[in-house]
């Protein structure tokens, strides 16, 4: 509970403020909650991402770690003070003009760090800009356009006329680099991400998560949590009126764990309480008793008959086969045979916006605002869970701070929807960075064995791949990832004899689902070094071996699809080869 026991006086964006704040409140909380300056974002709460960067007396700092009481007598600048809609700051204008804004979640922090730099160094070098922005994580842009925009704004502030893009104007609407149509609210800090949406009478949700990788749930005792003043409800799977499980491909994942948990971090109960801190505290008071089961973490182990069984149907979620031509004949015709084993790691999407959602009743309609890559899909899952007609659930995508595949699956929408359904009150939930990494989906770790054959002239004759993907505790988008990895296993090459066996295997780890590339980023570290090796063995350069084997009109893919048009493969290679030829002497 907030005590509001210290009076502070300070300036925010030039306006004097006098207010009572909690002794241990951070500046970020005061800005966002008390002053409704939600342009300053919370991405991590640890001062590691820079999304909450504000200027205090001109110095950039992380508002999430800066005690509010310390701003007494000081001057604070936030993104809301940078410019107005009709008079944007040069940084804001150049961010839009040069495409430095994508999701917009890290943008306010980047703008403030850049402003602090330009206030002190009006003519920075690109390296100085990169250094000054190195505390601001951005997952969308790759930073290049951000650096260009800061340099252009700096030039304009110095009275120069920096060049914009030359491909903005033109006839027709296509092929022109027009500014993002949703860009202005993003550079002003006015775009409403789910965490920024407020509602009166709000309750907050917090998860009780499994500390065990594999266990049966013996008992959930919510008595102590419910005894805390301000706790409204503790929801478990028993409170769900409709379907028990969800999943975009196959419905194997409980909305809330039913009788068993399958990874550390799996939600087993949801506490609904008066405020966010109280909900988290009460979640710790929920007592869950488990019977621990043997767990398995490596998919190669999980495939074995004696491995701990994670799902009733066995641990092999799927096996996708590709059989083109005759693989034995392909290798028999090969003069050169190369082999490779490769392991890729599990990785995190790491969008800078942590997951957030808010649900409430509006008449007969259950409304959910959330970060999302697929509101229609999520609507269907929520309707099934609540036994409502699909038409009575409304999912509204809030401005979403990156996704990269991670905001496809249901993440927390079902917790707030169930909370609002049961309590009749609006319910909100925002994940911390730690909760996000613990409970969101991941990119599959792959274990691969490759063998490729070619004639002495370098033409491929055979390609064979065995892929074992760690799909984690539940399927999510895993079956589609495994299938795509099989279809992408050879890369853009024409080969008559292909055999691929791709397995998706359950383990007691975080759920692996869609992530940018969807099974393809794992494949290229196998087929591409092998292409180079075949080239070396056949006396061909990396460009020559690719040029020889690349798909072109009439080529047949691994699935025997004949490509007919729109095939720019060779041109992508030749364009780079031309750049290489032009600056051969540099290496």
């Amino acid at each position: 509970m907030r005590m509001n026991n210290r009076i502070i006086e300070f300036h925010v964006n030039g306006q004097p403020r006098r207010m009572a704040v909690d002794e241990d409140a951070m500046l970020l909380e005061v800005l966002r909650e008390d002053l409704d300056l939600t342009g300053t974002k919370q991405g991590c709460g640890n001062g590691e991402c820079g999304a909450c960067t504000v200027l205090v007396n001109g110095q950039p700092l992380a508002a999430c770690l800066y005690p509010a009481v310390k701003v007494h007598g000081q001057s604070v600048e936030t993104v809301e003070g940078l410019g107005t809609r009709n008079n944007l700051h040069p940084l804001q204008r150049w961010f839009l003009k040069l495409g430095a804004v994508q999701c917009g979640f890290c943008t306010p922090g980047l703008l403030m760090s850049a402003k602090a730099l330009l206030d002190r160094f009006p003519e920075p070098t690109p390296a100085q800009v990169r250094e000054a922005l190195s505390g601001n994580l951005c997952r969308c842009t790759g930073y290049q356009k951000v650096v260009e925009a800061v340099l252009a704004a700096a030039a304009e502030i110095r009275g120069k006329s920096p060049a914009g893009r030359t491909d903005v104007e033109g006839s027709g609407a296509l092929g022109r680099s027009i500014e993002k149509v949703d860009g202005i609210p993003k550079v002003m800090g006015a775009a409403r991400f789910a965490a920024d949406i407020k509602r009166t009478g709000l309750l907050w949700a917090a998860m009780v998560c499994s500390p065990h990788a594999h266990a049966t749930i013996r008992r959930i005792d919510a008595g102590a949590a419910l005894g805390i003043e301000g706790v409204t409800a503790v929801l478990t799977a028993r409170d769900i009126p409709g379907a028990a499980c969800h999943g975009v491909v196959q419905k194997d994942q409980p909305f809330i764990a039913v009788d068993k948990v399958r990874y550390v971090g799996e939600p087993v109960a949801v506490v609904i309480a008066r405020d966010e801190r109280l909900a988290r505290r009460a979640a710790e008071a929920v007592n869950v008793e488990y019977d621990i089961l043997p767990a398995v973490f490596d998919p190669r182990e999980a495939m074995k008959a004696e491995a701990a069984r994670i799902h009733a149907g066995g641990n092999i979620m799927m096996h996708r086969k590709i059989r083109k031509g005759n693989i034995d004949e392909g290798f028999a015709r090969a003069d050169v045979i190369v082999e490779r084993q490769f392991i890729t790691q599990t990785v995190e999407h790491a969008y800078i916006e942590p997951e957030a959602a808010l649900a409430y009743w509006e008449g007969d309609m259950l409304v959910v605002h959330c970060c999302s890559q697929g509101p229609h899909y999520q609507r269907q899952e929520l309707a099934l869970m609540l036994n409502l007609p699909v038409s009575r659930v409304r999912v509204i995508q809030a401005t979403t701070g990156g996704g990269f595949g991670g905001k496809i699956d249901l993440l927390l929408q079902h917790f707030v929807a169930l909370g609002a359904y049961i309590t009749g009150r609006p319910v909100k939930m925002i994940w911390t960075r730690e909760e996000s990494i613990r409970s969101s989906t991941k990119r599959h770790a792959f274990y691969m064995k490759y063998r490729m054959g070619a004639a002495a002239n370098g033409r491929l004759t055979a390609a064979q791949a065995e892929i074992v993907g760690n799909t984690g505790a539940y399927a999510a988008f895993g079956p589609a990832v495994i299938t795509r990895s099989a279809t992408m296993a050879l890369g853009p090459y024409d080969c008559p004899h292909v055999q691929v066996d791709a397995y998706g295997v359950y383990t007691n780890t975080q759920i692996a689902s869609a992530m940018r590339g969807f099974g393809a980023p794992q494949m290229s570290p196998c087929h591409e070094p092998l292409m180079d090796e075949i080239g070396r063995r056949c006396g061909l350069s990396p460009v020559e071996i690719r040029r020889l084997n690349m798909v072109r009109r009439g080529s047949s893919t691994v699935t025997q699809q004949v490509l007919e048009s729109g095939i720019g493969a060779l041109e992508t290679l030749e364009r780079i080869a031309a750049v290489m030829d032009a600056d051969k002497g540099d290496l």
């Binding site: 590691e48 994508q102 917009g104 922005l133 842009t141 790759g142 930073y143 356009k145 951000v146 650096v147 609407a173 027009i178 149509v181 949703d182 990874y263 550390v264 767990a295 996708r320 590709i322 059989r323 083109k324 490769f342 392991i343 790691q345 599990t346 990785v347 790491a350 890559q373 229609h376 999912v395 509204i396 996704g403 990494i437 613990r438 988008f477 589609a480 299938t483 279809t487 992408m488 890369g491 853009p492 780890t509 975080q510 940018r516 590339g517 980023p521 494949m523 290229s524 570290p525 990396p542 690719r546 690349m550 699935t559 699809q561 048009s565 041109e571 992508t572 780079i576 750049v579 290496l587």
Partner: protein, 337 residues
């Protein structure tokens, strides 16, 4: 000693969900003043689908881009567009918007043809005006045609649905079939400098050539390429989820799970290749995912090119390179090297 190397990597990437229907629909409404509203279920996560769909609607109807607005991804208001995944929204929803726009265009041209005493097939819409091909003076404004239609009780609204031509599931035994209606292609080159004493490496630059079909918005395409390359480099060099032996996560914040910063990201040259895709809207394909796919492989090939070390797991680290360099030094170098 520091040695430089270059590595190539090529990939291809199918647009849309693999071998299953993944339709999208859209509504286009032309208003009485010649401005336009697009309704689409496609969720924009920052990659720019709202902007691309507006450009496609404007192109279809010959409107200036500033006259088109969009409402996206609200299930009560916007029609189904499937999930924003599989690099599909420009290709699939782009086509849905184009088809919806074509319905409106047909209504407009029918009326304009009567007013201009011309054949609808001979009319062009550009810059908010409708004119006879080759005779730009025989013209009328889109807004005026809308108003005459409204006087007759005709509204200018259309809807479109598109699903990629992926007729059936892949054969369960052979995988044979048509998994994707279109493919994007890419080649990337990573240039690296490796310290042969320590295994430390610097990524000097990346050149990324991506066939995206006809680029709807080149700046947006570059944004996808640059962001994808840096994500690919994070995958290649620093990112890793690590658990303890009980399955508890050890990398649960940005202090332990590292992603690239502005200081880590190398200069990137984007080369846009435009092999027009006949099934795409105005020849466009998707480009969300492909930029993240080839980068790690290009780095591995660059390191081999520089120091002859083959890395066999991700992420590529200085330690792994150093270990391999030490191994290779314990044997005499092959002749000629």
């Amino acid at each position: 000693m520091k040695r430089r190397g270059r590595g190539f990597s090529s990939i291809y990437f199918g647009m849309g969900n693999t071998a299953k229907p993944n339709p999208a629909s859209a509504v286009v409404e032309l208003l009485e003043d010649g401005s336009c509203v697009v309704l689409s279920g496609a969720a924009d996560l920052g990659q720019g689908s709202d902007t691309a769909l507006i450009q496609i609607a404007a192109e279809t109807l010959g409107l200036s881009v500033g006259k088109v607005s969009i409402k996206s991804a609200d299930t009560l208001v916007t029609p189904e567009a499937g999930i924003t995944s599989a690099s599909r929204q420009t290709y699939v929803s782009g086509n849905a918007v184009r088809l919806a726009g074509e319905q409106v265009r047909a209504i407009l041209l029918h009326q304009a043809a009567a007013e201009l005493e011309a054949n609808p097939d001979d009319l062009v819409i550009r810059d908010d005006r409708i004119f006879v091909k080759g005779s730009p003076n025989i013209a009328t404004a889109v807004a005026e045609v809308c108003q005459s239609l409204r006087k007759k009780g005709v509204l200018t609204i259309g809807s479109g649905t598109f699903t990629p031509p992926t007729p059936e599931a892949l054969d369960p035994e052979t995988g044979a079939g048509i998994p994707y209606g279109a493919y994007s292609y890419a080649t990337q080159m990573v240039e690296v400098e490796v310290d042969t004493d320590t295994g430390q490496f610097d990524i000097l630059r990346v050149i990324a050539a991506h066939d995206v079909g006809n680029a709807v918005n080149p700046m947006g395409v570059e944004g996808q390429i640059e962001g994808g390359v840096v994500m690919g480099l994070g995958y290649a060099t620093m990112e890793e989820i690590v658990w303890d032996d009980a399955g508890r996560l050890l990398t649960d914040d940005f202090g332990k799970y590292l992603i690239p910063t502005a200081a880590d990201a190398p200069p990137i040259t984007s080369l846009i290749v435009e092999a027009a895709e006949p099934s795409g809207p105005f020849g466009a394909k998707g480009t969300g995912e492909p930029p993240a796919c080839p980068t790690a492989a290009a780095l591995i090939n660059a390191i081999f090119d520089a120091v002859g070390v083959d890395i066999t797991s991700l992420p590529v680290t200085a330690e792994k390179i150093y270990t391999e360099l030490k191994k290779s030094r314990s044997f005499p170098a092959p002749a000629g090297q």
